[in-house]
Structures are given as structure tokens and as C-alpha cells.
């Protein structure tokens, strides 16, 4: 056993010498492993970034307990009376507040698009939304300064505004925003609070978009901008996941009344999105695993091929080693170690290449969209894979070398 380990160790050293002696050939034989490992690590980074983005969004918007009301075309038999429905309006909110016993949070939204904000001669554009106090809890928004929109602001349609962290930084880099008057599209609003930036100062993707939004009371939005009581979005949160189906039925019952029996809306759960998300994750995992698996397989075949060639070249050496006392197992371990050296060195180069890959992808793909990260577990996995491939592809050539007859091997020219 100890002897086997020693032989393997000296085989590793010997393998390094051989790899170094044939640099170009070694590099060629490592190519498959290098690409396989680099592809594996880089792709895991990309997919992790994308899935992480979706997961963040999903979790920050209420997760599985969220129900979303969406407008849709009424069924054909109702199309002639579709105009009787008021559509998705603030009356829906009031009805849910009155009858939605399984709902613990209502978050309607009047989206006013991008607006121009002016303060002290400085102008910036940012999205503006009319919301109710529950928005803060649903997105777990933190205040950097001041307070969020309250019930009285909604009731009185007060001309008050909560600035997103991004605009707060621009207009009030030193704080002191509360109480200041700013102009939004020609109307004056009093700043009551500034939000903390979500996802840290270097936020990207969904977080970055979120940090630009400024909020005013939903009633103020309807009175001062949209002029009617239509909603752009309506989300609610179910008090208990266990009551999700009941809450869904309750919501539909309430809304069918406010919509005068016209089914021009749909209440959807996040389960569908979640399922979609899981399917995406699975698809990526399999596609990724397939690509990495095939390239590692090809890498393994490449190494096996090279090892068979190497053994043919070194039949004489095998004969000499056996003549001076090497057993079949010594020869087996020596050539196995050499295959492992090739694949492990290839794996290490592949890991280094993957770092370059990731940097390259970061440059090419819009940084705003993805957070691509090198994942240490993927790097370790890639490395272990390369070692396993080395062993697997080295076994057959090593067995052939070990079985060689000493007299024939010595005679070989």
C-alpha cells in the first residue's frame, strides 16, 4: 500500500517531467479538459447570475404568498357587454379591503411612467408611481430618512413624495431632504422620506431599477396625473400559504362584483411563475451538464488516445523497467499517474481560463442585466471532474502497458 502510494507519487513527478518534455503535445491533449472545465465553471457562473437575479426578484416581491390581478380580454360571450365593466380601479382595492379576510396586504399601483424631477435648478428623470402604504412592507423597503407614505396621505391625496435612493443621492447627497419642496412634472411635492438603496450601493438589475422609483400617494397620482381611478397593477399578499386557494377564490368573488360580472381580469398565483422558474433552472442545469459532460468526455477520450500513443512510444522503457524489477502494478500506477497529471494540469489551466471567460462575458454582456460570479464550488467540481476523467481515461492504456511482455517489450525497436 505504502509502496503503491510512493510509486504513484513518483509517477506524478515523472508525469510532470513527461508533460513538460512534450509541452505542445501535452497542451493539445489537455485541450478537451481545459475547454470542458472552463465551460463548466464559466457557464455555472452565468446561470447562477441569471437564476440569482430571478430568485431575488421573486423573493423580494412577496414570493409564493403573492397574488397578482391582471386585466385580460373578457371571454367571447361577454365581449358585447365588456364596456359595462369599469376595469381594474381603485374600487377593487376598497372592495378587497372590505371583504378580503384572507388577504393581509394590498398593493395597488398607478404607474405614471418616467417623469421629470426638478430641485434647486437640477433636473433628473425617474419613474413615478402612486402607491399605498403596504408597498413598503411588500418590498421590504427601508427608509434612509423620513417616513413612507401613510394612510392619511392616501386619504387626503397629499402632495407628498418619497424619493428613491438614486434620486435622493443626486438631489440631497448630504441628506436633509425631508421638508424640501421638489417639482415633479410642474407640480410641487413635499419630500417626506428617502429610501435606502436596495442591494447595496453597487446594485444591479432589478434592484437598480427599483432604486430609481419615486412614490406618491395613489390618490394623489389619480387626482394630479392620471385623472381617473384606474390601476396599472394590483398585487395582494395572502395571510397564510395554506389558504392560498381559498384566498384566490375569495379574490375572484370580490372582483367579479366590482367588475359587474364581467371576467375581464385574472387572479394568478406565483406558483406558475415558480414552476416556470424551476423549469428554467432545470433546463439550464441539464443543458449545462450536457455541454460540460460532452466536452469532458471528449477531453477524456483525447487523453486516452494520447496515453495509448505514449505507451506505444515507450514500449522499450516499459521493457527496461520490468527487466530491472518493476511489476505490472508499478507500470500500471506509473502510467495512470501520468494520465492524471495531464488531466489535472488541464483542469487547473481550465480553471484559470474560466476566470478569463467570466471576465470576458462580463465585458460582452450588459453588466446591468447579469451578476456573473465565479462559483468556488463549481471550480472545485471542475477540478475533481478532471481528476476523475484522468483516472478513467488512464486505466485502459495503463492496463495495456502493465500487461506487456518483458521480452517482447525489450526487443521492440
Amino acid at each position: 500500500m505504502i509502496n503503491g502510494i510512493l510509486t504513484f507519487y513518483s509517477g506524478l513527478l515523472n508525469g510532470l517531467v513527461e508533460v513538460w518534455a512534450h509541452k505542445f503535445r501535452s497542451l493539445l491533449s489537455m485541450m478537451g479538459i481545459i475547454l470542458g472545465v472552463a465551460a463548466l465553471v464559466a457557464m455555472v457562473g452565468v446561470v447562477r447570475g441569471m437564476i440569482g437575479e430571478v430568485r431575488d426578484y421573486f423573493e423580494r416581491t412577496g414570493g409564493i404568498t403573492r397574488l397578482q390581478v391582471e386585466s385580460r380580454e373578457p371571454p367571447d360571450e361577454q365581449s358585447h357587454i365588456a364596456h359595462l365593466s369599469p376595469g381594474m380601479t381603485f374600487r377593487d382595492v376598497e372592495a378587497i379591503q372590505a371583504g378580503g379576510t384572507l388577504i393581509d396586504l394590498i398593493d395597488p399601483e398607478v404607474s405614471l411612467g418616467w417623469r421629470r424631477y426638478t430641485y434647486a435648478g437640477q433636473s433628473e428623470h425617474a419613474p413615478l408611481q402612486g402607491v399605498m402604504p403596504d408597498r413598503r412592507e411588500r418590498l421590504q423597503l427601508q427608509m434612509r430618512e423620513g417616513r413612507y407614505i401613510g394612510d392619511l396621505d392616501v386619504e387626503w391625496a397629499s402632495p407628498v413624495i418619497v424619493l428613491g435612493g438614486w434620486l435622493g443621492d443626486l438631489f440631497f447627497p448630504n441628506g436633509g431632504a425631508v421638508g424640501q419642496k421638489i417639482h415633479v412634472h410642474g407640480q410641487t411635492f413635499r419630500v417626506i422620506g428617502v429610501l435606502e438603496n436596495l442591494g447595496g450601493p453597487e446594485s444591479r438589475g432589478w434592484f437598480q431599477r427599483q432604486n430609481r422609483i419615486c412614490y406618491i400617494p395613489i390618490t394623489a397620482a389619480m387626482k394630479r396625473f392620471s385623472g381617473d381611478d384606474r390601476l396599472s397593477n394590483l398585487s395582494v399578499r395572502v395571510a397564510e400559504v395554506a389558504f392560498l386557494d381559498d384566498a384566490l377564490a375569495q379574490m375572484e368573488n370580490i372582483l367579479i362584483q366590482t367588475h359587474r360580472g364581467i371576467e375581464d381580469f385574472a387572479v394568478s398565483t406565483m406558483e406558475e411563475q415558480l414552476e416556470e422558474f424551476r423549469r428554467m433552472e432545470r433546463t439550464f442545469t441539464f443543458a449545462l451538464g450536457g455541454v460540460a459532460g460532452i466536452s469532458l468526455l471528449v477531453g477524456g477520450i483525447g487523453i486516452m488516445n494520447v496515453m495509448l500513443a505514449v505507451i506505444n512510444e515507450r514500449i522499450r522503457e516499459i521493457g527496461v523497467r520490468k527487466a530491472v524489477g518493476a511489476r505490472g502494478s508499478d507500470i500500471f500506477i506509473q502510467f495512470l499517474a501520468e494520465a492524471v497529471v495531464i488531466s489535472v494540469v488541464g483542469g487547473l489551466i481550465g480553471m484559470m481560463a474560466s476566470v478569463g471567460f467570466v471576465v470576458f462575458i462580463r465585458e460582452v454582456i450588459d453588466v446591468e442585466q447579469f451578476r456573473i460570479a465565479l462559483s468556488p464550488p463549481a471550480m472545485v467540481a471542475g477540478f475533481l471532474f478532471s481528476a476523475v476523467i484522468g483516472i478513467a481515461s488512464g486505466i485502459y492504456p495503463a492496463v495495456r502497458a502493465a500487461r506487456m511482455n518483458v521480452i517482447d517489450a525489450l526487443r521492440y525497436e
Binding site: E18, E317, V320, K322, A323, V324, G325, G328
Partner: protein, 228 residues
């Protein structure tokens, strides 16, 4: 006790339909301290005899005793052990590994002998000193002349203090000056008590040995002590 005893030893090869009797009932004893030359034309069975003597092959029938022990039926691993611990080989083509230094080449039999020897390097240098090659220890074989390579190979053969050194046409690739040097080296080793068997077809080389064994058609046809 004889070092090696062949008793009615035969080796039969099957080549398709034909059977070849490479060795045909050989009777032979090698005593400790012998310096023997085996002579014979090609096809006489001298190579087969050497392979069996060197534990690279096993006989088809007959008895083979090494240091008094019956070894005709032992397996591959056991034969490898004998090659590492009891036999030293010298080849016509030197057979040094090109990527290893001379010292590393000389150490190979110690590596494979499985005895726990910490001072491998020291023993390799002692062996190199006996063949006058200490100054070349760190060179690789391609930097050496033919004669130097063969001396390094002899160092490798003696490094484990083998019971028997087998040399297969050791001077076949050397010029006449180096033939003399190598054969002088063998003679000196023999004087120190080393058992040596040299396989050759060169009468002049055989003349260095104390004993001449002639073979033909797989049999020993003459076995004489030189100078008697």
C-alpha cells in the same frame, strides 16, 4: 550449493502449426563466483536460456533451482521480485531511460526492489564509483559516449548486489577500445566474487570468461573451463 541448476529443462514455443524447441533438455549448473560465457549461433537457444536465467520467462518443462529453491513455476510478480533483487541485467543496447539522469537510472532497481532503503542515492553513487562513472552521475544518457553508457548500465546491474549478472551481447554496440574496457570491468567484478554470465557470439569476448558454454539446437554441446 549451485547458484542455478537446470535439470532436463525445455522451452517449447508454438508458432502457428509448428512447435519450436528453443531449449531441449538442458542440463546446466552455475556455481557462485562463476564467470561464464554462453556461445552459439543465432537460433541455438542462448537467448531463451538467458531469458529463463533472468526470470523473464518460465520453462515449459524440467526443473530450475535458484539458490536451491525450485522456481520453474513461479508467477509474474515473484519473477519481478527476483529480477529486482537477485539479477542484474546488462544489454547490448544499454537500455538506459533517456529522460532520467545516470544516477536516477542506476537507482531504478532499488526503487523496484521494495526493500526499505533510505540512502538510494548513496548506493547509486557507490555503484557508479565501482565503474568509474561518479563524475557523470548528473548527466543524461544522451550526453555520454557508448562506453560510458554501458558502464552506467553495469552500475545499474550491480547496485542491488545481485546474485547473478546477466549480460546479453554487452559489447555488441562498442568499438574495440571500449570492448576491452568493459570486459576488463567484468573481469574485475568476477575477481571480486561476482557471478557473471555473458551471452555472446564473439569468441574474443568469450575468451575473458573462465568458463565457456557452447549451445546448438537448444542443447549444451560443450562446457569447458578456459585455460585448462
Amino acid at each position: 550449493m549451485a547458484l542455478v541448476e537446470f535439470e532436463n529443462l525445455s522451452k517449447i514455443y508454438r508458432m502457428g502449426e509448428e512447435t519450436v524447441r528453443a531449449l531441449d533438455g538442458v542440463e546446466l549448473r552455475i556455481e557462485p563466483g562463476d564467470f561464464a560465457a554462453i556461445l552459439g549461433p543465432s537460433g541455438s537457444g542462448k537467448s531463451t536460456l538467458m531469458h529463463i536465467l533472468g526470470f523473464m520467462d518460465s520453462p515449459t518443462s524440467g526443473q530450475l533451482r535458484f539458490e536451491g529453491r525450485e522456481v520453474s513455476g513461479i508467477g509474474r510478480a515473484r519473477r519481478a521480485w527476483y529480477r529486482a533483487n537477485r539479477i542484474g541485467f546488462v544489454f547490448q543496447a544499454f537500455n538506459l531511460l533517456p529522460r532520467l539522469s545516470v544516477a536516477d537510472n542506476v537507482q531504478l532497481p532499488i526503487v523496484y526492489s521494495r526493500s526499505r532503503i533510505a540512502d538510494r542515492r548513496k548506493r547509486a553513487l557507490v555503484a557508479l564509483d565501482r565503474v568509474g562513472m561518479t563524475h557523470r552521475a548528473k548527466h543524461v544518457p544522451s550526453q555520454l559516449s557508448g562506453g560510458e553508457r554501458q558502464r552506467a548500465a553495469i552500475a545499474r546491474a550491480i547496485v542491488n548486489n545481485p546474485s547473478l549478472i546477466l549480460a546479453d551481447e554487452p559489447t555488441g554496440n562498442l568499438d574495440s577500445q571500449n570492448v576491452v574496457r568493459i570486459m576488463d570491468l567484468f573481469t574485475e567484478l568476477a575477481r571480486e566474487g561476482q557471478t557473471l554470465v555473458v551471452v555472446t557470439h564473439d569468441e574474443q569476448v568469450a575468451a575473458y570468461a573462465r568458463r565457456t558454454i557452447r549451445m546448438r539446437d537448444g542443447r549444451v554441446i560443450e562446457d569447458t573451463v578456459n585455460g585448462v
